[in-house]
């Protein structure tokens, strides 16, 4: 569905992505694993149009996304749940959600119906609908960030490290939500450091190391422990 081919992105002279290619398949959860500094967030921001790729191409069902502005990309249905959630702290939960639907603000009845759906999905957000988002707990803010992204009616949902900074029990809750979204047939691209948790849910996964994709496949095809240890610790597991 979303094809990424030989994407290169740099910060000044420092190359962060050195030719990344991967496929995000329709109706599945594609996961990108990798250690800190591998370029995972850079890839998300490049797809979202916040960072500009120097070369390479990204196509959504054959339609070129490379070089488009971020708000246009959202309009095409590629929607990001950013790392650290980035909710609007001084806006109410309800306004945060409505802001998520900004690209389709003309469709007022549709937006209101989706708002109701999201509040149905996350009853905790309904309880706090009139509260400022800055007063929510980390887990609630993550739910809000997911809900806000859903308000844009995503065709592809990009999720950047949804487990960052959350207590283990909350992380499980967030992953349950991700699993539920996957089961609804949504297309999800999940970037995670929490490899074990992510692999439980992934249909496909890739490994990103120092700006290169070093592995791509299905969970269960290979010895994960071996791969992960290698990627994260930079050494082969003693055998």
């Amino acid at each position: 569905m979303l094809e990424i081919r030989d994407i290169r992105t740099s910060y000044g002279k420092i190359a962060a992505l050195k030719g990344v290619s991967l496929d995000i398949r329709e109706g599945g959860l594609t996961c990108l694993l990798g250690p800190n500094g591998a370029g995972k967030t850079t890839l998300i921001w490049t797809i979202a149009g916040i960072l500009r790729a120097q070369s390479g191409s990204m196509t959504l069902d054959g339609e070129e996304l490379t070089g488009l502005k971020s708000h246009t990309i959202v309009g095409k249905g590629v929607v990001t749940v950013p790392e650290n959630r980035l909710v609007f702290p001084e806006m109410t939960v309800r306004d945060n959600l409505i802001a998520g639907a900004f690209s389709r603000r003309k469709d007022k009845t549709g937006v209101m119906a989706d708002l109701e759906d999201v509040l149905q999905r996350f009853p905790r957000l309904r309880e706090r609908a009139s509260q400022e988002a800055g007063t929510l707990s980390g887990g609630e803010q993550q739910m809000l960030a997911v809900g806000r992204a859903l308000m844009a009616r995503p065709r592809v949902l990009l999720m950047d490290e949804p487990s960052t900074g959350l207590a283990p029990i909350i992380v499980e809750e967030i992953f349950a939500i991700i699993g539920q979204l996957r089961d609804e047939g949504r297309t999800i691209f999940l970037v995670e450091q929490n490899a074990h948790m992510a692999l439980d849910y992934a249909d496909h996964f890739y490994l990103l190391e120092q700006g290169h994709v070093t592995f791509g496949g299905r969970p269960g095809e290979v010895d994960h422990e071996e791969l992960i240890a290698q990627a994260y610790l930079g050494a082969r597991k003693a055998s």
Binding site: V79, M91, I98, A99, F102
Partner: protein, 296 residues
Amino acid sequence: MDYFFFIDLLQSLTDGLLFGTTYALIGIGFTLIFGVMRKLNLAYGAASLAGTYIGLLAFLNLGAPPALVFVISALGAGVIGLVVYYCCFRFTPETVPMASLLASVGMLLFIDEVVVHLSHGMPYPYPSVFRDSVIEIGEVWVRGDLLFVFLMCVVAMGVLFWLLHRTPLGLATRAVSQQPRAAQLCGIDSARVNALTFVIAGVLGGVAGAMTAAAVGVLSPIIAMGLTVKGLIVVVIGGLGSIPGAIIGGLLVGAAENIFLLLRGVTERDIYVMLLLFLFLTLRPGGLFGAHAGRD
């Protein structure tokens, strides 16, 4: 305390609070622009005054009625605000804050020169309304023209509040000022929001400029300096980035100014306003409403 002195004090306070709403508007303008871009637009006061001059042109050349002159002043300042955005902010690198700051200083000087040359540095009569009407509340006189200034500024604030809290554009503006990255990820075109914020701030500045001129019945190029300096004092006192802060700060500066005027005379008035600024910078640098936590 002497009874008549007390009445004088009340009178000064009333005039100051009424006129202080123009300072509040200018402060709001600085704060709005800072809110979405985290950058200071030092050309703002001059741009607002230039808009007022556009209204004056309509008054002198076409004999436009006061209401129309005020509207043209406000809209003119909105257009000039947009020009300032494109000249000083749109294309300057985001990572070099000094670039847009100095560009806006250049713009301040440029606009000032243009206004001084076109007006030959001379003051011109500017339409004023309700000059001769006065409402007496006990011993205190509420001047009709000042009351009009006050009401117009309050209406401008009301419209701004409605824009910010009841329209999609306002939602986008608040989103960009609270979390610019996330705003982009919500599909908000932040460059467009920035441009529109400059227009809205410009219109508010134009209202402030027109009302400043209407309160004295004269438009003079030196008002630019007053708008710029007072506006900055207001945002320092109120807290840069806070709209309620700008309103309180504006009223406070207006009131303090008039009380110093009464106590120490016109020559010393501004010294004490500056001292007030100094006090705030030393004791409460974040302003009354504190600085917001940094972005990201």
